[in-house]
């Protein structure tokens, strides 16, 4: 098998790299040992929520935060990607998701504050249109509706926590909770969000649910649901419920299995298929064949049947420690396919701070692959390890996605840039 660009990894950054390379008319293969975190995350794209890292107040504008960051921190992935590619990457993401049927709202100039299922408020940059109504800058009070039998979403818990939540400069609207008794099926085993979302595509059930919600509504409220309003027809369903209730409604991201994550994955998959990108999921990648500073081929195999894949450029998007793109022994981390150097604190005792919720974050979360301005992994001397290998996404060195709320933005923008760079090789 022979391709122009081979993307290894099927998470958000890998899929974005494929979008970027395919839009330059390249023959692209995405190969991955499994699906990425994209299907289980909230579906909202955090670009830059907090900076400096221990700042308690969220950034009002991700873009101005990044502009300040790139002057101060030469190691951060955003500095390597560059502001121009970040803007283009976000644009390409919104377009690619939209083509597949998921509309994103928001832009780099402002963060949206949305409530979470555990009753906190978090800054994020892009949300699917189904979540846009949850903007906490709006003063409209919120009726949170949960479902009796749904095991992963508790409206009273969310309403209680959010009533005690404090964020500087933010005056939250009032929240109250109702658990709907509409019959959504067998409740003995506990329903998960995905199964419920599938059920709510049934017109009769949806009508019954809407009627019950309407009965609970008070004037001037909007309605929050867990993100379960349909899987494939979610935009129609959203519109229908909103019209029937006569007030704005919005979805709140839940625990995995995540419905918005699945919707986003399916939409990007549809877009990639339309662009002619090939996808092989379930294959281990190993045994790269190199010629000096070039990678010529890799082996891929599910079980024992090995195939060789050659490419002009390779993009590594295999994730960090959770995604197993980076693996480790007791005190040493390594990249799992090309054995690239991984930058991390030398001693294991320096990996973590004493307090779990230390505002400065844990140094291990910043560990990763160091790259140059073209996103090529570099060695200690600062030279590219391979001329035609690029890295993107979570595995990059120098950022703390959890603290900064920057994981989605780094994945989208570095993936996009890697795809563009690869298509020039």
């Amino acid at each position: 098998m022979n391709y122009d660009v081979v993307v290894i990894g099927a998470g958000l950054s890998g899929l974005m790299a494929a979008v970027a390379a395919a839009s330059k008319k390249k023959r692209v293969l995405v190969v991955a040992r499994g699906m990425g975190i994209i299907t289980i995350f909230t579906g909202s794209i955090d670009v830059f929520g907090y900076w400096p890292i221990d700042e308690a107040k969220p950034l009002t504008s991700p873009l101005s935060g990044i502009q300040r960051l790139v002057r101060k921190d030469p190691e951060h992935p955003y500095t390597k990607v560059g502001i121009d590619a970040i803007k283009k990457g976000i644009g390409a993401f919104v377009e690619a998701a939209g083509k597949g049927g998921v509309q994103y709202v928001g832009d780099l100039s402002g963060n949206i504050l949305i409530p979470t299922a555990v009753g906190t408020v978090k800054p994020t940059c892009l949300v699917s249109s189904s979540m846009a109504g949850g903007d906490m800058k709006s003063e409209r009070n919120v009726l949170i509706c949960g479902f009796s039998g749904l095991k992963d979403f508790y409206p009273d818990y969310m309403a209680h926590n959010i009533s005690t939540f404090e964020m500087e400069g933010l005056k939250l609207p009032r929240f109250r909770a109702r658990t709907l008794n509409v019959d959504v099926g067998d409740r003995t085993s506990g329903l998960n969000c995905l199964t419920l979302a599938g059920r709510l595509e049934d017109q009769g059930l949806l009508r019954a649910m809407t009627e019950e919600v309407y009965g609970h509504l008070r004037t001037g409220e909007r309605v929050a649901f867990p993100a379960v309003l349909g899987i494939r027809n979610s935009r129609d369903i959203h519109k229908k419920v909103e019209q029937a209730c006569g007030v704005p409604i919005f979805e709140t991201p839940t625990l995995p299995p995540s419905v918005p994550g699945y919707r986003l994955y399916k939409s990007l998959e549809d877009t990639l298929r339309e662009m002619g990108v090939h996808m092989l999921i379930g294959y281990d990648v190993y045994n790269p064949k190199t010629f000096g500073r070039r990678i010529g081929e890799i082996s891929i195999a599910m079980g024992k049947r090995e195939k060789r894949v050659s490419g002009r450029a390779f993009i590594l998007a295999t994730g960090g420690l959770v995604g197993k793109g980076i693996t480790g022994s007791y005190d040493r981390l390594k990249e799992s396919i090309f054995d690239l150097p991984v930058a991390a604190p030398k001693k294991r005792t320096d990996w973590f701070r004493k307090r779990l919720f230390d505002p400065a974050g844990h140094p291990i979360n910043r560990a990763g692959i160091v790259v140059d301005d073209h996103l090529r992994p570099i060695n200690k001397k600062g030279e590219p390890v391979y001329d035609n290998l690029l890295a993107c996404g979570t595995q990059l060195f120098g950022f703390d996605a959890l603290r900064e709320k920057s994981g989605g933005g780094v994945a989208v923008s570095s993936g996009y840039k890697a795809g563009v760079e690869a298509s020039r090789m």
Binding site: M1, A32, R33, G34, M35, G36, I37, T39, I40, G185, D186, S189, L191, N192, L194, T195, A197, G198, R199, I231, R232, P256, P257, S258, G261, Y262, Y265, E269, D270, R273, H278, L280, I281, G282, Y283, D284, Y286, N287, S299, A301, M302, G303, K304, R305, E306, K307, V322, G323, K324
Partner: protein, 407 residues
Amino acid sequence: MAVVRRDIHYPADQCIKCTICVEHCPVIKVTDKFLGPKQVGPDFQRFRSENDDPHDVSVDYCTGCRICDVVCPSGVNISELNIRSKIAVREKEGIPIRDTLLSHAYMFGQIASFTAPAANAFLKFRPFRWLSDKMLHLEKSLRYPFYQRESFEKWIRSYTFKSERKVAYFYGCFTNYNDPSVGKAVVKVLEKNGIQAVFPRQECCGLPLLGNGNVREARKLARRNLAGLLSAVDDGYDIIYSSTSCGMMIRDDYITYLDLYEAEPLFDRMKEVSEYLWELHEKNELNTDFIEVPMTMAYHIPCHLRSLGIGFPAINLMNLIPGLTVRELGTYCCGMAGTYGFKSDKYEITRAIGQELARQLAKTDGIYAASDCEACRMQIENMSTKKAVHPIKALLWAYGIEPVGGV
């Protein structure tokens, strides 16, 4: 070093509870009767031991599509845990008559093709269907596959092509009794490439039995198949198959579930027919003297093709044909899942899963839809107005052996 994913004793402890398998499970999106691959697989595995209760009622709703294995980023053999649990439940509780009948379809094949069209008329006969639904819980509104008067086995006797270059062909029961045109197409396409097909002694691969939890009988069939297939390998032949599920059963499951380690030498020699032809093409040995086949062909990827780990060679082959536009539908499990769809308690689930396939088929131009799996082809015809064909038919038409649309 390669990590071998399908090590049969891969511990369930590799599961990090990410729920990616749940996200991609076709069943859990349409019913709450199935607890989902994670819970039934690695979660429950912790409570299972050899002498223990298998702790499972919902595993019966698993279609066995194996997408969970494919998407798992931690390399857990989830479907294997589920299938083993299903076997354990069946061993404890016994197998219902209905499932025994369904899993022995190959036996009816012999009788039905002998007595077709009478058998077909009988299978269509409403009172019979009503009765079989009432008594055996066989879904009455589903079309049964038709039986052909001339089985593929019988047709082989008139096959005279001779060549130095040979390949062994495992055609499977469906091709033999229900759709011999697939077998004939395979043989004729090989002939265009100067390759003679030989036919090792064979019976049902045993997958329907395994899927219904009957390991003992599956092993009996497997042993008989192995005798023929291993001697073909000894003669130096590759073995091709045109049914992805049969191929998966023989290549992988004989060892994984039936502990028939003598099947080991088959692994490298067993090739899906399009995989085999595409390898010829990669060696510049495929006859590409094609005529134009002006049409749009929808293509549905069977789940078991995904889990064979050989890519999607039929798409590559069809893309060689001038005039032919292949539209891969982006669909996952069609819902039919072999004998699953014939069971009346599963029928609604089968229909509900199939809705996505129906939607995509309706959106795609053309009157034909290709799929390598016979159960998927049945479901395509159940869920749409398209005519379902094996992808090998596109080559049959491209070589001009049959007019476009002919069999």
